[in-house]
Subunit: 380 residues, 2 copies
């Protein structure tokens, strides 16, 4: 009996610390080569666990439940996995399509939507059970899926140049189709207020914006002809549109096929400037206060980071964290930034004021970094 | 021995559920009459506990640690109390001044600052231990304390019309003093990016803005003479400046002594419109997406809520939740709002799209409602 008590106490000791854990400063780092997630603690600048068995995690992304306990991981292989960050375990895993490209969670936390290439469309799942609750075939590769207020999802169709709005607030999904977005939308973003949806186009030399407060929204061109009269550089990597600065009323976008980022007035949607960069930008992500924009680059320049000041549009800092800088994630109030340096097998933590390196954390081929604060934000 | 095991198991059962709790969707409701805090769960729309013994909580406010586990409660009586939302208990409590008016937590989570009337000034405490780490006497009642990026706090001096910036990123606090803000600043806000600080003035018929990205910032008048040529109504309650809409590039402020809210272009700081309201507004708070602004009112109109559409500046909904509507708090992505209805002894939860009441929760004279998502935001 005594042994039993000791065993119970021992298992108690092992078990409770994982649970006596607040979740506001945690995060997950995608380890693409090993199909695992590293559980990290921002405040401790440390790894605190690993969740394995998630399949193919190349280009994987994830979203969080409103309570910051569960993550929904979207694998490129069509796998949708629900993990528990407190228990550091997989809750459920379904293969929901052949080739998926990302997902989102509704504002009420009830629905998880996934956009798919094969078969083309969006599938919506119950966030609790992962049961399928709505299947929205589009007849096209589907990209740029985001959540917006009103229990709605917005996404675009590569083959037909349409954007669809799916409203899940009622008993059955209501679909609004908007044609004329342009040729081959390949990615999209929505502003943090969920109002302006911007799609990047592979087939046209511009982007297209929608004001989702209009009913119905009308496509509006932005940056028309931004690459005209200039020889396009080979596109080593499709730029992501997920990050931008809104400071001073502008945002910043990576230019396709050019060594520059583009500045756009958030109100008029007119171009306000260009900043020449070290290479082809992949992510241009604003520090949460918007004063600085951090940029990483496509191969062969992916060992470098540049930091651009929003007021002057000048590069104010440049450094080489190491080979294969794939992603950046700021702490929610912006005092530190975490970088995935894939080929160094490290996640590196920097002070965003002094640019001092604060910590290196071992990780296996790290790519995307996702802090739980994303649970509280629209459109991620 | 068997009894001991059962006792251990029983206490385990009682103890673990309080800890096996993620913290992203929790909150605290100030119960002013009883000096207690109700612990609430947004997702469950439920109260899950109560923390007692916090002293005088009239006009109390609080901020959260970055991990969303600890809250720092600023009592009007000068008490500073650190509570653990997981354990639902007080960690430490100090009487730090005779009369305090609110506080803030630094972007790195290391420092908690409190602004005081008596003695006038700001005191800064170690967030872990509540040990005093900096005392900044101002010789004036001190108001409008906010955190901004760079481990800095900004606050204003009622008696001298100055704003001070305290930089705590180094070994000793560096103070920047800005004179000429105007007569008797009584409250202030900072925009969510931490860039623009706006002080309301009791002694002048305007507000004053500072662009904190300037070095040094220069006071800039806003809404000069907005009450000129109109008979001022008696000010039953000093309006708060903590909430505003940034949608469409505007924000909204409650007018002092008038039955209206004022709209200001966030870029030019010029007035863009006025909306007549049911009574004297106390809080004008934007839904997180900025599309709607919810307004509550001073006595004798404090049983009413009006909802204003940002695009049209028209009231689109009005209802009477009950007597003494003191505060509103939106869920982080805005699909629901919680209201404190003091004299009904209820917190009420509403759907922000349909305006349907979803739940009533018993509370003792509820006032401020604070969800843990505030941990991730600047300037609250």
């Amino acid at each position: 009996m005594k042994r039993f008590v000791l065993a119970a106490m021992a298992s108690l000791t092992l078990w409770v610390p994982a649970l006596a854990q607040s979740t506001g400063d945690l995060g997950l780092v995608v380890e693409r080569a090993s199909g695992s997630l590293l559980v990290v603690d921002q405040s401790e600048r440390a790894r605190i666990g690993r969740i394995t068995g998630l399949g193919d995690l190349s280009h994987a992304s994830l979203v969080y439940s409103p309570d910051e306990r569960f993550a929904y991981v979207f694998g490129r292989d069509g796998g949708l996995t629900k993990v528990d960050i407190l228990e550091q375990s997989i809750v459920k895993r379904v293969m929901q399509a052949g080739n998926s490209i990302g997902g989102a969670i509704s504002d009420d936390g009830l629905y998880v939507a996934v956009s798919n290439y094969e078969p083309g469309g969006v599938r919506v799942f119950d966030a609790e059970t992962l049961d399928l609750v709505a299947d929205i075939p589009t007849g096209s590769k589907t990209i740029g899926l985001v959540d917006v207020p009103g229990t709605r999802f917005v996404f675009s169709l590569w083959d037909t140049g349409e954007t669809w709005i799916a409203d899940l607030s009622g008993a059955t999904p209501q679909i609004t189709r908007i044609a004329g977005m342009g040729a081959n939308p390949y990615d999209a973003l929505v502003t943090p207020d969920g109002r302006t949806y911007i799609a990047g186009l592979f087939g046209d030399d511009r982007l297209t914006a929608l004001d989702l407060w209009q009913d119905p929204p009308t496509p509006q061109p932005i940056l028309q002809g931004y690459a005209a009269d200039r020889e396009g550089l080979p596109v080593y990597k499709m730029p992501h549109l997920e990050g931008w600065a809104l400071a001073g009323g502008e945002f910043v976008l990576p230019a396709v096929g050019q060594h520059e980022v583009l500045w756009v007035d958030a109100r008029s949607l007119r171009e306000t400037g260009r900043t020449a960069t070290h290479g082809q930008p992949v992510f241009a992500i604003a520090r949460p206060d918007g004063r600085h924009v951090w940029v990483n680059f496509a191969h062969p320049d992916n060992d470098t980071i540049q930091v651009i000041d929003t007021m002057t549009k000048q590069v104010v800092h440049e450094f080489k964290p190491g080979p294969g800088v794939l992603h950046m994630e700021f702490t929610p109030r912006g005092h530190e930034v975490w970088l995935s340096v894939r080929d160094a097998g490290k996640v590196m933590v920097y002070d965003t004021e002094t640019f001092e390196k604060l910590r290196e954390i071992d990780a296996e081929s790290p790519s995307g970094i996702f802090f739980t604060a994303r649970a509280h934000r629209t459109g991620l």
